[in-house]
């Protein structure tokens, strides 16, 4: 039985990754999970300079999920390269760094610095964070802006780049195609869906930022649909995510067309989720006599 999956020529020992922003750089969950077992660790978004993020409350619970408006708080690429990369290098797992920015130049800056670090396998470009006022989200919601930034980053990136798509669009296939046409090596989707919660007793927003990105099991059907649509629109591989809580969910994404999957919010609920997903996919492959994980990709009829 072969759990290996390949994205942009890079082999991953299994298709299970951590979703950016839900796993830090692995340190916190290293107490629960043997990082060596993961297909990849995808880090929290990192910018060219430290970002303070949004005021609190930053998280709120919703039915079957959560809202967050962390606002991409991060220590900046320099600290990240000094502290987080050396930590992750100790493990036998691939490192994918999630990159955020406000302008194309910001992104280029980070991408270039990461180019110096061969331990980083791939870059995931977050053009879809709904919690940052400036720029970033527009890259993820307009096909031409997405095309432009993808093309620019390809000029500077040493590693293959994954464009992370926003679900807050009319037509995900249009975005997927724009990224592909501009040279993206892979896509990841979905980022969070913009949501809102109001505390009716205080008549105030539950999140200081008013809106927050929704994630968790509640969004899974929307995510599966978008992965399926995108997979039918482009040839580049897709990393699927949105509400994955167990192996069944992960397999659903793979059958819909994902070459790999990420576990996000459910890490918070059950820190052992990633490992359980890996074991569960193995069990499924055994039960249905599936030789290669790749045979499952897009195999829904």
């Amino acid at each position: 039985m072969n759990m290996q999956t390949t994205i942009a020529g890079i082999p991953f020992k299994n298709p299970v990754m951590t979703a950016s922003g839900t796993f830090g750089s692995g340190m916190e969950y290293g107490e629960f999970v043997d990082l060596n077992q993961l297909g990849a660790v995808v880090t929290k978004g990192v910018a060219n300079v430290p970002w303070p993020g949004n005021p609190t409350p930053r998280v709120a619970e919703v039915y079957g999920g959560m809202l967050n408006a962390i606002g991409l708080q991060n220590p900046g690429i320099d600290v990240f390269l000094e502290r987080d990369i050396p930590f992750l290098k100790q493990y036998d797992t691939k490192i994918i760094v999630n990159v955020c920015g406000k302008t194309v130049e910001d992104y280029v800056d980070v991408v270039e610095k990461l180019g110096e670090e061969p331990a980083v396998a791939m870059l995931e470009i977050n053009v879809s964070c709904p919690n940052v006022k400036e720029g970033a989200i527009a890259f993820g919601q307009k096909a031409d802006a997405l095309y432009h930034i993808t093309q620019e980053l390809k000029k500077h990136a040493k590693q293959p780049i994954i464009m992370k798509l926003s679900p807050n669009v009319t037509d995900i296939t249009e975005m997927a195609k724009a990224a592909e046409a501009a040279g993206a090596d892979a896509l990841s989707l979905i980022n969070t869906i913009t949501g809102m919660k109001i505390d009716i007793h205080r008549r105030k927003f539950a999140i200081a930022n008013k809106t927050g990105g929704m994630s968790g099991p509640a969004i899974k059907p929307i995510a599966v649909r978008m992965v399926y649509q995108a997979a039918h629109a482009v040839k580049i591989p897709i990393i699927g995510m949105g509400g994955i809580a167990n192996a069944e969910d992960a397999i659903e994404f793979i059958l819909a067309g994902a070459s790999a999957v990420s576990v996000g919010a459910m890490n918070f609920v059950n820190p052992y989720t990633t490992i359980e997903v890996i074991k569960g996919i193995e069990a499924y492959m055994e039960r249905y006599h599936v030789e290669n994980l790749t045979d499952l990709i897009g195999a829904v009829e």
Binding site: E28, F32, G53, V59, G65, I70, F268
Partner: protein, 283 residues
Amino acid sequence: MKQKQTAVVASQKEIAPQIFDMWINTELAAEARPGQFVCVYPKDRSTLLPRPISICEVNGDKTALRLVYRIAGQGTAEFAGYRAGDSIAILGTLGNGFLEAVGIDSLTGSIVRDDVEITADKMFSGKQVFLMGGGIGIPPMLQLAKKLNQFMEKDRIQIIVGYRDAQTFLREDLERYGKVFIATEDGSVGTKGNVMNAIAENGLSADKIFACGPMPMLRAIKAYAQEKEIPAYISLEEHMACGVGACLGCVVKTREIDHHSHVHNARICTDGPVFEAKEVEIG
């Protein structure tokens, strides 16, 4: 070592209207420090996030934790329905703890931080402390008081607690470990007013403050500590998603740049929940 596990409820009772007192059997008790908390997870799958609840007490042989909590919404309402023998999903133990915030390892009494020079015995013996709790901020003061008895004289542990009314839950427990002063909003017991009024009315003073309670109380304590030039260690609350420092959901603005975040934000779940009042900006 943090762990998520399914523990077993040993007992539960309602000790005041909407306030529940639950003992759970768990080996996490061996590691529990006063001021730390556990995350409790509802079983209903529509409510996924953890509910942070402070450790109120650890039993003698360190095999059980006591949680005292108020029904605030769907999660705590679910917990209130648990009976002895039911399972309960918890993650713990989390956060730093009151003595750890001071620089002392509460399990051993020894020094854990570079800038601290003396062990717990020396730090507390002969000194006066305030343990201040407001409402549902009272529970963590019990284990702290119990612990401080190992390092100092009982009658120097001044426990000042504020209730809404005569429903003075945990009072007897607290009285076993310190001198208890009560304030009630409706004046039915002790000083009418809040914990600050109780300090004034009883002419109390201290060398150190430990506190947990609503934000206005913590702000008043911060101001009081500044005026008296004594350190105050306060336990903060924020909505949490991970409880382990990964999501950056639960931050508080800090005076100094935080060493982990490299911005002026510390994580309440891991760097706290206890902070020295002067280090955090609580408005």
